[in-house]
Amino acid sequence: MPILEIKDLKAGIAGREILRGVNLTIAPGEVHAIMGPNGSGKSTLAQVLAGRDTYVVTGGEVRLNGRDLLELSPEERACEGLFLAFQYPVEIPGVSTSYFLKAALNAVRKYHGEPELDAMDFLKLMKQKMKLLDMDASFLSRAVNEGFSGGEKKRNEILQMAVLDPKLAILDETDSGLDIDALRIVAGGVNSLRGPDRGILLVTHYQRLLNYIVPDYVHVLRDGQIIKSGDKNLALELEARGYGWLEEPAAAH
């Protein structure tokens, strides 16, 4: 059974369709990249999958591990194993990163009928995951994303992903705003989370990230539709030729 199965998904905001029939299937263990020019609907797709109610789904269906995703609330989706690394991580003043993450982890555990982690076990887990991302322990006591640099915010997203151990991870422009060292660290973190049971959907504008996280499949989203799919070489081709050559209908075939 695929981890994620999107069939003819249509969604938008009041009076405007942004996603115009998206089809995508991700099997366990696969890493898919969605590329596309600015404004093509990549973030919209990520947000719709996560359940943001700014967007209205007008058609199609989505299954997560066979379960109807669209009927679940955002928090249920999260508890069912869907994780979104935000393009713009949100600041929560006064709430420490460790408090936030512990609340999240325990909410997910509770959902699955598992006991809550106590402070000691939680700290142990955090230390282990933070090492993976070369993060300093002082992170934990800082307020969620408040005063974080762009790179720190992105690392924090990956840290959360590592701690929450999702079945499907969607990473929205995780590479943007990262210098090369930070990019390596973040990519290393993501790669370490690749595994036979997990699906990963990378949303990116540039192919740069894909040098570090090599995808199994690459899709091009344009005007709310996937207009081309291929393997990692498609990304290289896009890098060399831009998105323009895809415009001419049939010419690419």
Binding site: A50, T54, P74, E75, G94, F100, A103, Q160
Partner: protein, 481 residues
């Protein structure tokens, strides 16, 4: 006696609905206020002459006053002749078991994590031997007495230490201060008295004791706390679990005096009945709280978490008289449904190098109206005085309001006052971020609000901060989403 819980529930709600319960018992004086009533109060309490004089002076002055109109609150006029000003501290009818308590109240206790024994105490159920409040209180008192700390009810102190009461009563809030304080001075019932002698550091938060004794707080409370040279005391007022109270009007006075190098920390968590979702009922809370940093290097801090009452009218203040003295005010005020809070502080800088800090966090939800009103006054002699004020407002929804009125009066050119203010809405993006991590809406709101209040909560004693957090959650239940 009704046995069915439904009946009890409706009775309990009815009490709230009508606010003023005029269920006269044998120990009460008739309704209304005149000199005879005041003389009678004083006689029944067997008070010394000076106290009767104080009450009468206040009463005569009160007759010349009108209720203040400047606050950003609305309520129907209060008929002061329709209130009973004295009823002997009667114990409410004891209930036989928790089964007889309003189940909604019990649900709230459970959410707050109030231990069962304490739930019984709060709900006025006969307490079993496991939790013997009287003996606990006595143990505390004995320990304090050993160190020379005097701590007990105000009435008791009038009997045992009249000279101290006489010396300090009205020394910070004069009998003529304002309409409600003057009324209190005339008719106050009881309250707490605390005296910490020179050089003594009070070894415990004076909260546990108070909490145990908080089951019958009066309508016109009077509290006096004195810290002599070098003394320290942390005092905790209030109770985190909701108290049933049948008096609609509360007008308390609290006076604090800190001598040289003394420190007083006064923390309040107020969770009185706020009225129902339609704004019916609820307590009107008109309080005058003021501290005087009389001595050099003295320090007074007010920390308050105000989540209850239909109306909160409250400005805990500090008079910074001694050189180098410090005044602090940390406040979280919540106005949900139809609650109205007009609260803030006054920092009066008189001595040199005096410092004050004001951190105010206002949360408005539903149709709640939250007003910060603060005055920083620097007198001519207050060279190098410093004030820092930070006022943040958080709005949940778009029917509520936040208002700030910071007043600054500077008479000394070497002094500085700094003011920062912000108003924000609880962000849809913040909520979505939390939900995407699996956190339920209600918990997300709680978390964001507690983050907003963190600077104030960290001033509260640890266990109380935890309870205050839970309390905010309960008070805001259902206001988002």
């Amino acid at each position: 006696m009704p046995t069915d819980t439904g009946t009890i529930e409706s009775l309990a709600n009815k009490e709230y609905e009508w606010g003023f319960v005029t269920d006269i018992d044998a120990d009460a004086l008739p309704k209304g206020l005149n000199e005879d009533i005041i003389r009678e109060i004083s006689r029944r309490k067997d008070e010394p002459e000076f106290l009767l004089e104080f009450r009468l002076k206040a009463y005569r002055h009160w007759l010349t006053m009108v209720p203040p109109q400047w606050a950003n609150i609305k309520h129907p006029p209060i008929n002061f002749q329709d209130i009973i000003y004295y009823s002997a501290p009667k114990s409410k009818k004891k209930l036989a078991s928790l089964d007889e308590v309003d189940p909604e109240l019990l649900r709230t206790y459970a959410k707050l994590g109030v231990p069962l024994a304490e739930q019984k105490l709060l709900a006025n159920v006969a307490v079993d031997a496991v939790f013997d409040s009287v003996s606990v209180a006595t143990t505390f008192k004995a320990k304090l007495a050993e160190m020379g700390v005097i701590f007990g009810s105000f009435s008791e102190a009038v009997k045992t230490h009249p000279e101290l009461v006489r010396k300090y009563l009205g020394s910070v809030v004069p009998y003529s201060d304002n309409f409600y304080a003057t009324l209190n001075s005339a008719v106050f019932s009881d309250g707490s008295f605390c005296f910490v002698p020179k050089g003594v550091r009070c070894p415990m938060e004076l909260s546990t004791y108070f909490r145990i004794n908080a089951k019958e707080t009066g309508q016109f409370e009077r509290t006096l706390i004195i810290a002599e040279e070098g003394a320290y005391v942390s005092y905790l007022e209030g109770c985190t679990a909701p108290m049933r109270d049948e008096n609609q009007l509360h007008a308390a006075v609290v006076e604090l005096v800190a001598l040289d190098n003394a420190q007083i920390k006064y923390s309040t968590v107020q969770n009185w009945y706020p009225g129902d979702k339609q704004g019916k009922g609820g307590i009107y809370n008109f309080v005058t709280k003021r501290g005087k940093c009389l001595g050099q290097n003295s320090r007074i801090s007010w920390t308050q978490v105000e989540t209850g009452s239909a109306i909160t009218w409250k400005y805990p203040s500090v008079i910074l008289q001694g050189d180098n003295s410090i005044g602090e005010f940390y406040s979280v005020a919540l106005a949900n449904n139809y609650q109205q809070a007009d609260t803030g502080t006054k920092m009066i800088h008189i001595g040199r190098n005096t410092r004050s800090t004001i951190v105010s966090k206002g949360i408005s939800a539903g149709h709640g109206q939250n007003t910060y009103r603060g005055l920083v006054k620097v007198l001519k002699g207050a060279a190098n005085a410093r004030n820092y004020t930070q006022c943040d407002s958080l709005l949940l929804g778009d029917q509520c309001g936040a208002h700030t009125f910071p007043y600054i009066e500077m008479k000394n050119t070497t002094s500085r006052a700094e003011h920062e203010a912000s108003t924000s809405k609880i962000g849809e993006d913040q909520l979505f971020y939390c939900k995407q991590r699996g956190i339920a809406l209600e918990d997300a709101v709680n978390m964001i609000i507690n983050g907003f209040c963190k600077e104030v909560f960290k001033e509260l004693p640890m266990e109380f901060a935890v309870e205050a957090q839970k309390l905010l959650g309960v008070s805001l239940e259902g206001s988002v989403g």
